[in-house]
């Protein structure tokens, strides 16, 4: 069934979009990522203009994250305190990121820089996670007890706060800094940042994997809601019909993803996420390295 999208001005197959939304929703519920990294290229591929794809997807992520968070709240795996601290950092970071983005844009080649950053980031994070979770799985198989959390310099910082759900008593400085860093990256790369946020919460802040997913979704809701409003009022690129088609699949997928996620072991979840991060990284790297089939591309003059 073809549906004409009023803002994107293209006709698309409704069932294809329902399926895409569902797939990305499952990932979102399982891993606590928004899924924009996957959805953007898929939407480009079916002919949605890039500006519309990025803006509309933010709206869809609001829906699937909200659906996912509610499922996690029922299981008591959302750390609202930590989520709020990260969010505050994230909003500051996003504001700084927009300034950096505009500066880079005035210098040209922002697109390339973003891609290179992305490949390096995803490659390093994915690789580290993969090695770590593989070791964890091997340790549990051979029956070795998991290593106790190290007491490092992070625990020596002032302004300590208790994060009950995560079982942490640490300074607020590292979470705020993580929030700021992810906010900057999110603003520059135009993605929600769940991909960087989730590993940062696991490895830098030492939060339990189960809590990380719900908490990440919690703060993604606010970031993407803000992005949606920004795009709707400045670029007029949010396509509500496209968003509805995507989010119907997305909210159902998020529920399924959450129940899959809770049935899996933490290190299994981490290794799957690592594989996904590496796959996205490989795809981006290949795009840069392989000879494209069409070296010309058409863009709107005056637009993005």
């Amino acid at each position: 069934m073809l549906i004409y999208l009023p803002i994107a001005e293209v006709s698309v197959n409704a069932f294809l979009l329902l399926g895409l939304g569902g797939l990305v929703g499952v990932l979102s519920g399982m891993f606590g990522v928004g899924g924009g990294f996957l959805m953007t290229p898929l939407l480009f591929f079916i002919g949605i203009p890039p500006a519309v794809a990025v803006a509309t997807e933010a709206n869809q992520i609001v829906a699937s994250s909200f659906s996912g968070v509610l499922a996690h709240v029922r299981r008591k795996t959302v750390d609202f305190t930590m989520g709020t601290v990260l969010l505050v950092g994230g909003l500051i970071g996003a504001a700084v990121g927009v300034v950096i983005f505009n500066y880079l844009k005035s210098m040209g080649q922002v697109d390339l820089l973003v891609r290179l950053c992305y490949v390096v980031f995803l490659g390093v994070i994915g690789g580290m996670m993969f090695v770590e979770s593989l070791r964890a799985i091997r340790n549990t198989r051979s029956g070795k007890p998991p290593k106790r959390k190290k007491h490092n310099w992070i625990h020596g910082l002032p302004l300590k706060m208790r994060f009950r759900t995560s079982g942490l008593y640490i300074s607020v400085i590292p979470p705020v800094l993580v929030g700021v860093a992810v906010g900057i990256l999110a603003a520059i790369m135009g993605v929600g940042g769940g991909f960087i946020m989730v590993p940062a919460m696991i490895y830098l802040l030492g939060m339990p994997t189960k809590v990380v997913v719900g908490t990440s979704l919690f703060q993604i809701i606010f970031v993407t809601a803000f992005t949606t409003l920004l795009h709707a009022t400045t670029n007029f690129t949010v396509d509500i019909v496209l968003a509805v088609l995507l989010l119907v699949g997305g909210v159902i997928g998020a529920q399924i993803g959450t129940s899959i996620g809770t049935r899996m072991k933490a290190e299994q979840l981490r290794i799957l996420l690592a594989i996904m991060v590496l796959a996205v990284c490989a795809k981006l790297a290949l795009d840069l390295l392989l000879t494209p089939s069409e070296i010309y591309s058409i863009g709107n003059a005056g637009g993005h």
């Binding site: 069934m1 073809l2 549906i3 004409y4 009023p6 803002i7 001005e9 293209v10 006709s11 002919g47 709206n59 869809q60 609001v62 829906a63 699937s64 994250s65 909200f66 659906s67 996912g68 968070v69 509610l70 499922a71 029922r74 080649q109 697109d111 390339l112 809601a225 949606t228 409003l229 795009h231 709707a232 009022t233 007029f236 949010v238 509500i240 019909v241 968003a243 509805v244 989010l247 119907v248 909210v251 159902i252 998020a254 529920q255 795009d287 840069l288 390295l289 392989l290 000879t291 494209p292 069409e294 070296i295 010309y296 591309s297 058409i298 863009g299 709107n300 003059a301 005056g302």
Partner: protein, 255 residues
């Protein structure tokens, strides 16, 4: 006798060309295309007759039908390999390119219309795209225009259909122009050319109005006129859907 007749015919032809004795009488199966939510493209039948007050000249008549969507400026970028990776290096701004362009003719394009006439009336696809002022760093601006044509021919936005206009008795003609599902709103200029030996002997211009209607119209207007409300509405729908799915799954699990 025969030579004299031929002379007469030629004279008549020249006269016709000069005074516009041949005229197009045109009909469109529809002059408005309404884009609804389930719009799947549209087929427009262009039909007409040649009205003339002189005998039919001997040189055969040809008909060209050209439908052009609204013009828009574009930026065309070209990738190049630098340090082993593919990067956008050059960009050329195209001043105006139609979002849709279809040309249908009675025969092979280069026989139906001469180059000079094409330049004058801007009928062929390359002529329909206007590009001036490529930056000095780009030596081959034409390659960028060619790329636009190649990409748009690939996705069906531009097409040349030779032989798609049928002509009966040098008088009645008809052509069917199919418009794809992803149309842009606007006025689609529709031009008809009558040619003899590559020379244009008569032209006719009309337009097809392509508009969004109903829900599509309402949403589009709202996104432009009340963007904040539109954004909040999008968010409300997202939150409601997220909550709805969560509630539905809770009910499902309890049963």
């Amino acid at each position: 006798m025969r030579a004299a007749l031929a002379c007469l015919a030629l004279a008549a032809c020249l006269l016709a060309a000069r005074t516009g004795a041949e005229e197009v009488v045109l009909g469109l199966s529809k002059d408005k295309v309404a884009i609804t939510a389930t719009f799947e493209g549209s087929e427009i039948l262009v039909f007409g007759a040649v009205k003339r007050e002189v005998p039919i000249p001997e040189e055969p008549l040809d008909v060209i039908v050209a439908v052009a969507g609204p013009d828009k400026p574009l930026i065309v970028r070209r990738k190049e390999r630098r340090f082993g990776i593919w990067v956008n290096i050059d960009a050329v701004e195209i001043d105006a390119a139609p979002s849709f362009y279809a040309v249908a003719t009675t025969g092979p394009f280069d026989q139906v219309l001469s180059n000079v006439e094409d330049l004058r009336h801007r009928v062929s696809i390359p002529q329909a795209i206007r590009s001036v002022g490529a930056p000095a760093t780009v030596g081959d601006a034409q390659a960028f225009t060619d790329a636009v044509i190649r990409i748009r021919k690939g996705n069906g936005a531009y097409k040349v259909e030779e032989g798609a206009v049928s002509l009966d008795e040098q008088t009645l003609f008809r052509a069917s122009i199919s418009m794809p599902a992803n149309l842009t709103e606007g006025v689609y200029a529709t031009r008809i050319f009558l040619t003899r030996g590559g020379e244009v002997v008569a032209t006719y211009q009309t337009s097809i109005d392509v508009r969004k209607v109903g829900l599509e119209r309402w949403l589009f207007n709202m996104s432009r006129e009340q963007p904040l409300l539109y954004g909040l509405m999008s968010l409300a729908i997202a939150i409601a859907a997220g909550w709805g799915a969560s509630a539905a799954f809770r009910v499902l699990r309890q049963n």
